[in-house]
Each structure stands twice: as structure tokens, then as C-alpha cells.
């Protein structure tokens, strides 16, 4: 058996079924890897060593007795630290959460346990899923395993970094303004923001309730699909059974985001996206150009709604103990105090217009191909670069519209870090984006092997 920490969830399931590997062996190998490397990477906020080993022993007994629950049985998952896991703190990287202990599992964690997954622990988040890296916060910020001096993305920073580090094969993240797809891009992994409302949010600390979405992250599209099936419920799981072919799929290539709306994106972005479009065409899809409204239109409406809702949730704390908030999240949340009802209504009207524009595009094509990140991740200690890059991305449109969006690697920057693309589908059509994502990923892997 090769290094089990390098295996995908689907490879692990096969190894368990063949008795070539046991869940306990896997859990011990992952814990050893975490012990070796997490001192530098700071992925785990709470590592549930005993709970994970106990669950692994239970899974081993059930699987080897022929009572396998499904493909996630015995597979460890890292959970973003704004999602409740019974018996563990939900810290949100906030000073205000000191001493918190979740009494019950979040709905999404309950679904994972029902599928037999093992909760390995809670992983780093930016404060309240909003702030950036906070060197003064309760937990040190997670580092990017591909280059620990670089930003790992956020706010689901521990989820992305832990996958890239080989600490777990699956992770849960949340995405309100791109917080799954940003670390997926920065850490070179795969993340899906499902359709808004599809995955239940009970037991997850809200940031902006009309935008918050929980989603799966993994190192491969197939693993993202497995995790999505487990958390999205039986009806969606049946819908996402995918056979791989994208022959005849109509793909709208949105070049306007990186060619019109963002000044001077890294040249690797354009090159990688053009190659991705060609790869999808070679796999049988038909790629046609599609224009959407400008990124700044989407961003303004998204920021108005996000900051207004976040301020409404945190108003009391920001009045009475503003010093308990990190500078980045305090500044971002306070924006909501200076927006009026008229502003918020204008943002919601614009949201509906922009959603209608994206829906209209889906009358002509089956999915959209767009850029994700416009630059390689900047240095963790470069506040000016982080502020500059904050808006240089194409993720927020699909928080605003609620459409499902898959982020996956499609090329490399000159420094070897990943360029990430997005595949976006009509509401509720995750199956399509996952199928196209698997085709793109498979072609890239085949190209590297050739």
C-alpha cells in the first residue's frame, strides 16, 4: 500500500472494501502527518484525536463485518470552525467565542456521520468567516502548504490548506463571498459552492444569511462529488450520479471578467483558461463566447448585502466590545452601519437583475466557464497586496445569483502555484458542473502523464 495520506476518498473507499487498508491505519497515518507538519501550517484549531480514532475503530468493525454504509464510510473530514461538531468548540477564530462548546452536530455534520465519515477536527477560518489572516487572533492563521509565505485564501483557509497538505482527503467549507473557491484556488484544490439553500445550514454560524452556503472541498472533482452527495441529501445525490461524457454540452466562455473587468490580470490566467476551453472542446463540448454584466456591478450589490447582514448580526458586539473583533472583520462589518435601507433595496433590485442576466445566459448554454483568481496568492505579511487583491476575482457574482460554482485548477502561474477556473451551472444543476469539471481534470491529468 502506497502512502495512504495521498489517496483520494474514492481510492480509500476501494482500499477499505478490498481490505488493503483499514480506517484505523489511515487515521493513524493522517495524525502522524498532522503531528509532523501542522506546527508550521496551523490548519487545525481543534484536532479530535481520540474521537477520530474511536470513530475509525467503529468504521473498521462495520466495514470489515460487511456493513459498509457507502463511499465515505471510514473517510476522515476536516470541518471549518464555524460549523458545529458536538462536543467541540466552534471558535470562529473570535475572542468572543472563548469557552464555547457545541452541544449538537450541525445538520451537515449529522449527514456526514450518517454516511460513516470520520470528523477529524475543526480547521482554521478567518474570523467570523469574514476577516483575513489575523496574527493577533485566538488561533494563528493557516499557511499555504504550497508556499507557507503565501496566503492560503479564505475564509475556509484551513480546509484548503489541510487538503493541500494531505491532512485529510475531504473538507467542509462555507462560501458567502467566495470563501470556498478562494482557498481552493490558492491551495490548488477543488471546491464547490452549491446552489444557495441546497445544503442545510442548521448549526452553522451565519455571516450573511441571504448569501451563506456550505460546500464540499477535496483534491479531486470526484471526491467533491462524493462529499456533495453526502451533504446535499438523497434527492440531490441521485441527481448527481454522473457518467462522465460532456459530448454536446454547450459551454459559455465568459472572457469579459478577466479581459474587460480586471486590469492586468496575470497573463497565466488568460492562457490557462484558453487551454481549458480547448480541452473541453476536445472532450466534445461546444464552447461559445458569453458576456455578463461587469464584475463591479456584482461586487457592489454583494458587498452591500453582505456587510449589511453581517453588521445586523454583530451590531451589539461592535457597539459594546469592538476591541474583541480583529481589525479586518471590524472594518468590513462596520460598513453595514453606513448603508441605508434605500441602499439595501437598490442592492437587492440589482441582485435580481443580475441573476436574471445569468439565467438568460443559461437559455443559450448549459454551463459557464469563467476565471476565478486573477493573480497568484500574495505574501501573508503583505497587507497592501491582500487589500489590492481582495476584489480581483470572479467569485462573488455567483454568491449573489445563487448559482452553483465549481473551482478547480486549470493551469499554473510562473511560480508553480495554481490558476483556478470556475464552472458555473443553472440553479440546482450541480451534476453538470461536476461532470464538466471531471472532464477538464481528467484531460489535464492525462496531459501530464503523456
Amino acid at each position: 500500500m502506497s502512502d495512504p495520506t495521498a489517496l483520494s476518498a474514492s481510492e480509500l473507499a476501494a482500499a477499505f472494501a478490498a481490505r488493503a487498508l483499514s480506517p484505523v491505519e489511515l487515521a493513524k497515518a493522517l495524525l502522524a502527518r498532522i503531528d509532523l507538519a501542522d506546527g508550521e501550517l496551523h490548519v487545525f484549531v481543534t484536532l479530535d484525536r481520540e474521537g477520530a480514532l474511536r470513530a475509525a475503530r467503529d468504521a473498521e468493525g462495520e466495514i470489515f463485518a460487511g456493513r459498509r454504509r457507502g463511499p465515505l464510510h471510514g473517510v476522515p473530514v476536516g470541518v471549518k470552525d464555524i460549523i458545529d461538531v458536538a462536543g467541540l468548540p466552534t471558535g470562529c477564530n473570535s475572542r468572543l467565542r472563548h469557552g464555547h462548546l457545541a452541544r449538537t452536530d450541525a445538520d451537515v455534520v449529522a449527514r456526514l456521520r450518517a454516511a460513516g465519515a470520520i470528523i477529524l477536527g475543526k480547521v482554521a477560518t478567518h474570523e467570523w468567516a469574514l476577516g483575513g489572516p489575523d496574527f493577533e487572533g485566538p488561533a494563528p492563521p493557516a499557511r499555504n502548504p504550497l508556499d507557507p509565505s503565501r496566503h492560503p485564501g479564505g475564509s475556509s483557509s484551513g480546509s484548503g490548506a489541510g487538503l493541500a497538505a494531505g491532512f485529510f482527503p475531504l473538507a467542509l467549507g462555507t462560501d458567502t463571498g467566495g470563501s470556498i473557491r478562494h482557498p481552493a484556488a490558492a491551495c490548488g484544490v477543488v471546491g464547490l459552492k452549491p446552489s444557495f439553500g441546497l445544503v442545510p445550514r442548521g448549526g452553522v454560524v451565519p455571516l450573511a444569511p441571504s448569501l451563506d452556503t456550505i460546500g464540499p472541498m477535496a483534491r479531486t472533482v470526484q471526491d467533491v462529488s462524493l462529499l456533495f452527495d453526502a451533504i446535499a441529501g438523497p434527492r440531490q445525490a441521485m441527481a448527481s450520479g454522473r457518467d462522465g461524457s460532456i459530448a454536446g454540452l454547450r459551454i459559455g466562455f465568459v472572457r469579459s471578467f478577466h479581459e474587460r473587468d480586471i486590469p492586468d490580470p496575470d497573463p497565466a490566467v488568460r492562457a490557462a483558461l484558453e487551454r481549458a476551453a480547448t480541452t473541453l472542446e476536445e472532450a466534445g463540448a461546444r464552447v461559445v463566447p458569453v458576456d455578463l454584466p461587469s464584475l463591479s456591478d456584482f461586487a457592489a450589490a454583494n458587498r452591500a448585502i453582505l456587510t449589511a447582514e453581517a453588521f445586523a448580526i454583530h451590531a451589539s458586539g461592535l457597539r459594546t466590545c469592538p476591541e474583541a473583533y480583529g481589525a479586518l472583520s471590524r472594518r468590513r462589518m462596520l460598513v453595514g452601519a453606513f448603508l441605508t435601507a434605500e441602499d439595501l433595496l437598490a442592492a437587492h433590485r440589482r441582485r435580481r437583475e443580475l441573476t436574471a442576466a445569468v439565467d438568460a445566459a443559461f437559455e443559450e448554454v448549459d454551463i459557464l466557464l469563467t476565471a476565478n483568481n486573477m493573480d497568484p496568492p500574495c505574501r501573508m505579511d503583505d497587507e497592501a497586496a491582500m487589500a489590492r487583491n481582495y476584489g480581483r476575482q470572479a467569485r462573488t457574482p455567483f454568491n449573489l445569483t445563487g448559482h452553483p460554482a465549481l473551482a478547480l485548477p486549470c493551469g499554473l502561474f510562473v511560480d508553480g502555484l495554481s490558476v483556478s477556473a470556475q464552472l458555473v451551472g443553472p440553479f440546482g444543476k450541480e451534476e453538470r458542473v461536476l461532470r464538466a469539471g471531471a472532464a477538464l481534470e481528467g484531460s489535464r491529468q492525462a496531459g501530464r502523464r503523456a
Binding site: A300, R319, L334, F338
Partner: protein
């Protein structure tokens, strides 16, 4: 947003103490909110919630 507008909104939101402790954060937040407001379509136009009827709803010119 004028300093008077910011003062009024700080009082309305009960953020006087927050501004005392973090004046730069409050000033920065007000500036960002102004930029967001400027980028939003505060203009008459078809209302997506009312089958494209005008927004804001025009007041009756006959005084009814």
C-alpha cells in the same frame, strides 16, 4: 458622505464608543459604504419584482 452624515449614522447605530476607540476603522467603513452606494443603481428603472413596472412607483400627478 459628509462628516455630519457620519456623525448622525454613528449616533443612530450606537457606535460612539466604537468610534472613540477605533476612529480610523469607522472613517474607513464610512468611506467604503460611500463607494458601494455610488456603485449601486440608485436610479429609476423597471422593477424586477413588479413585471418591469417603473421604480420608484410614480406618485399620482393629479394628487389622488
Amino acid at each position: 458622505m459628509s462628516p455630519e452624515d457620519i456623525d448622525a449614522l454613528v449616533r443612530l447605530a450606537g457606535l460612539e464608543r466604537t468610534r472613540e476607540k477605533f476612529p480610523e476603522d469607522v472613517a474607513d467603513a464610512a468611506a467604503v459604504a460611500s463607494a458601494i452606494r455610488a456603485a449601486l443603481p440608485h436610479r429609476p428603472g423597471p422593477d424586477p419584482d413588479r413585471d418591469g413596472e417603473p421604480w420608484p412607483p410614480p406618485f399620482a400627478e393629479d394628487g389622488a
